[in-house]
């Protein structure tokens, strides 16, 4: 059964996905990994540390005429819906610096404010977020050759009364919670089993899928979103992938929500049928010697099982992933969550 772990449950001691109200990591641009910032993604261009009020307190200078940095944050509606964004900036007249917020981190910026020419002035922006959101990417982009140095960027949850403007309009991507079809970019808001809210997704039932395809649980999705539904041809899912029905699985057997090799010993031609667990699908025990089928190295005498790697969040099968960011809670606490190899589909003992 697919579950989406609420981010609030894995938040830090201060509660929610914020660090005691602070949304952005390294707001002072203090952590540098070589020539790049450790917690900010350099999307394009170049950056360098720059002195601010004191040589020892450095900000970041956006170099060149097309530079952008961004940071994805796990802040969500349960943290609050009024965000106060502050920064201290030294922006020359011939530099165009823009502050953008991409709710849900789907690549489309819902807010886009130009940071005015400023001589180390503290600037404040208040943004009313949608009632139900999860994840915001903060992006700062610069065009033009003028000097632009940023320092002490902060984003924190403010009191609701401080935000007096309407909430930003958001076209929710697949995987985002929704109330009605109009909330979703796909135009489809489905009641999805296993989720406590409706989710924007590709399908609701097989009837929504073309050409006999089946509506089932989709593949990797950003950790701050639910895994949306997808349409797949019958038998498309290999052992180890999540499923809702037998027809989705190449093996024809959906056991405990995961495509598996067997349901009982009779399916294994006399061999034992190992039950499905959180970290392994149901499979026949055909020995441990070389050539025997396996899912992990623990199934083999050699300890080595080779096949197509199957990755899941925190080494479990309940949520597939490609990168760490696909795992819920990874943005809030990367030390606790990661995308790891769970086993090998079609594996063979070596």
């Amino acid at each position: 059964m697919r579950t989406r772990v609420p981010m609030v449950a894995i938040a830090l001691a201060c509660g929610g996905a914020t660090q005691c109200g602070q949304i952005i990591d390294d707001r002072g641009f203090d952590l540098w990994c070589g020539e790049s910032l450790c917690t900010w993604v350099l999307e394009k261009g170049e950056i360098a540390p720059a002195a601010t009020w004191h040589p020892g307190d450095r900000g970041v200078e956006l170099l060149g005429d097309d530079t952008a940095i961004s940071q994805m944050t796990p802040v969500e509606a349960s943290d609050g819906t009024c965000v106060r964004f502050t920064l201290v900036a030294d922006v020359a007249e011939d530099a165009e610096v823009r502050l953008q917020m991409d709710v849900f981190g789907d690549g489309s910026a819902e807010t886009d404010e130009r940071i005015p020419t400023s001589d180390w002035r503290k600037l404040t922006y208040l943004v009313r977020m949608p009632d139900d959101y999860s994840g915001v990417r903060f992006r700062i982009a610069k065009r033009g050759t003028g000097r632009a140095v940023l320092a002490n960027i902060g984003a924190e949850i403010a009191g609701d009364a401080e935000c007096t403007t309407p909430a930003v309009a958001v076209s929710r991507p697949d995987g985002a919670f929704c109330a009605v079809d109009a909330d979703c970019a796909s135009g489809q808001c489905y009641e999805w089993p296993g989720e406590w809210k409706d989710v924007c997704g590709g399908c609701d039932a097989d009837d929504d899928c073309p050409g006999g395809e089946l509506c089932t649980i989709g593949g990797p999705a950003p950790g701050w979103l639910a895994v949306p539904s997808v349409c797949v041809p019958p038998g498309a899912h290999a052992n180890g992938l999540r499923c809702l029905r037998d027809a989705e699985c190449a093996s024809g057997r959906c056991v405990a929500g995961v495509c598996g090799e067997c349901r009982e010993a009779a399916d294994c031609g006399g061999a034992a049928c190992l039950p499905a667990t959180a970290v392994a699908p149901a499979r026949c025990d055909r020995g441990r010697g070389a050539g025997a089928t396996c899912f992990t190295g623990a199934d083999c005498d050699s300890g080595v099982c080779s096949g197509a790697p199957l990755t899941g969040c925190d080494g479990r099968l309940d949520r597939v992933c490609d990168v760490d960011a696909d795992c819920p809670g990874e943005l809030a606490d990367p030390d606790l969550h990661s995308c790891a190899t769970v086993g090998f589909a079609g594996g063979t003992c070596q």
Partner: protein, 537 residues
């Protein structure tokens, strides 16, 4: 300040000086340092009274038990003692025997009354009560400002030139009044002499310095002339001005009136040829002055004294030597190299108002305070810094010298704590510590009220701002910023003892010295409340 110093010498009646030795004497010796409203506390009046009482017993022919010493009495206490004196004299003269009485007062006075702290005793009433004592001869000595008014109140004929006509007019009965100054002059104390000028020279004279004819006795005439000359000479050079000893007599009879019978010297203290200056010899532990002479360089000087322990002070142009001598049966010579040397301290003028008092003033003070917001602080907060702790410490040392009784000028050194700001990061927090050191001059105006001195103070000078910045990896950077400073303060000194006290001060300082890269300037000054210790000498 005023003191009434009453030195006393009572001589018997027509029987002459020899008979006076057998005339029983009774003395009431009063000394009070207590100031009245608007008066400054005296230093030596009570000590002078003790020395006079000791002299009366030692050299004046007064039996022990017949010299009553009263220190810092109330008005009622003083009059009660006068009444007791009268009763004792009356009892002693009940069978017609003569008696001599001495009344000595050392302390504050105003034009018509003795000042005993918050109380007063009218001169007219005191005189009336003293004259009511049935003594054959009464001598009153007053050491205080305008003490000559004591006699003037009764219209006693003044002795216009006592030194020339005293013998021809002196009688052996009646009243003699010796006053430390005229009715319009101030009487003065001297920190150097540790006494009033008048009492000091009177005691020196009575101990033998005034014995012009060398008969081993000091008469009233001799004592007056010696005291008059030396007091006038000594006070002519003080800031307060000349002090003329005055005398009033209402005496009948003939002959000299012995006041004291100095002990015959049996040993000597010799000053070496290298010694030069004014020499003062005191007998210890009473610190009774036994000799005061001027010593020229090049010759030795032998001073005849009785066996005992002495302190010999030699006052030169700039230094004072304090030497110990303990001649026994064999004479001793002072060794100058063994003497303690100190810088001269100006004499303390004593009169109706405050004298200069102690010249040097040192204070050390510690306080807590808060700074003011400025652009530098605003900038720190914009950059996410917060201040640790609401208050900052301040330390200060002030050294001043007094050019006027109510003014103090000098130098000050202050360490003004600037506090610490901090900004949390993903690594170690960024920290900024700031302090300011200020060095400059100050001027203070004071108004004394007894032990309490209120003052207002202004200071200015140079400041040096110092910052330490610690970054996210713990590396520190120190910077200094020169600037100026100014300070204003209101305060109060409370003198627990003469030289030491406590000070409480409210200070506002301004020291714009610390800068940042963005052109903001920080004022390191504070508004503080401080408490400290003060010393004067």
């Amino acid at each position: 300040m005023r003191r009434f110093l009453i030195s006393l010498a009572i001589v018997a009646a027509a029987a002459g000086s020899a008979a006076a030795d057998e005339v029983p004497g009774f003395a009431l010796v009063v000394g009070s340092n207590a100031p009245g409203p608007g008066q400054e506390r005296l230093v030596w009046a009570e000590d002078d009274a003790r020395e006079v009482a000791e002299l009366l017993e030692e050299l004046g022919g007064f039996e022990k038990g017949r010299v009553t010493l009263v220190v810092r009495p109330s008005a009622s206490k003083l009059m009660a003692e006068v009444a007791a004196l009268e009763a004792r004299v009356r009892a002693a003269t009940a069978d017609g025997k003569p008696a001599r009485v001495v009344f000595y007062y050392s302390g504050h006075a105003r034009a018509n009354a003795l000042s005993l702290g918050a109380e007063e005793v009218a001169l007219a009433m005191l005189r009336e009560r003293l004259l009511a004592v049935p003594a054959t001869l009464t001598v009153v000595v007053l050491d205080a400002c305008q003490s000559g008014a004591f006699s003037r109140t009764k219209g006693v004929e003044p002795a216009a030139d006592f030194s020339f006509n005293s013998r021809s007019r002196l009688d052996a009965q009646g009243v003699a009044v010796l006053a430390s100054s005229t009715d319009s002059e101030l009487s003065q104390e001297s920190d150097f002499l540790r006494s009033s000028y008048f009492t000091h020279h009177l005691l020196v004279g009575l101990r033998g310095a005034a014995d012009d004819n060398g008969d081993g006795r000091v008469s009233l005439d001799e004592a007056y002339r010696y005291t008059y000359h030396h007091t006038l000479t000594a006070t002519a050079a003080t800031a307060v001005g000349s002090q003329h000893v005055s005398v009033e007599v209402d005496l009948k009879g003939q002959g000299e009136i012995p006041l004291s019978y100095p002990q015959k010297a049996t040993t000597t203290i010799t000053l070496p040829a290298a010694a030069e200056g004014q020499v003062l010899v005191e007998r210890l532990p009473a610190r009774a002055v036994v000799a005061e002479v001027h010593k020229a360089k090049g010759t030795t000087l032998a001073i005849a004294v009785a066996p005992g322990r002495y302190q010999v002070m030699v006052r030169g142009a700039t230094r004072l030597l304090r030497c110990s001598a303990a001649p026994g049966r064999t004479p001793v010579t002072v060794v100058l190299d063994d003497c303690a040397s100190e810088a001269l301290v100006d004499a303390t003028a004593k009169g109706g108002g405050a004298g200069l008092g102690p010249r040097w003033h040192v204070s050390a003070i510690a306080g807590l305070g808060a700074g003011r917001r400025d652009g530098y602080i605003d900038r720190l907060e914009d950059f996410g810094y917060r201040r640790l702790g609401p208050v900052s410490p301040q330390l200060g040392v002030h050294v001043g010298r007094r050019p006027h009784p109510n003014l103090l000028v000098g130098g000050e050194l202050m360490l003004i704590g600037g506090g610490e700001w901090r900004r949390d990061t993903e690594a170690m927090p960024l920290r900024l510590k700031a302090d300011t050191v200020a060095l400059g001059a100050f001027g203070r105006a004071e108004t004394p009220h007894g032990r309490i001195v209120l003052y207002g103070q202004l200071g200015a000078g140079l400041a040096l701002g110092m910052t330490t910045f610690i970054d996210e990896v713990g590396a520190s950077t120190k910077e200094t910023f020169p600037g100026i400073y100014g300070a204003a303060a209101l305060g109060m000194d409370f003198w627990i003892v003469r030289s030491w006290g406590l000070t409480l001060r409210l200070t506002g300082s301004y020291a714009p010295a610390i800068d940042n890269l963005l052109g903001d300037q920080h004022d390191g000054g504070l508004i503080t409340v401080g408490l400290g210790a003060v010393n004067r000498r």
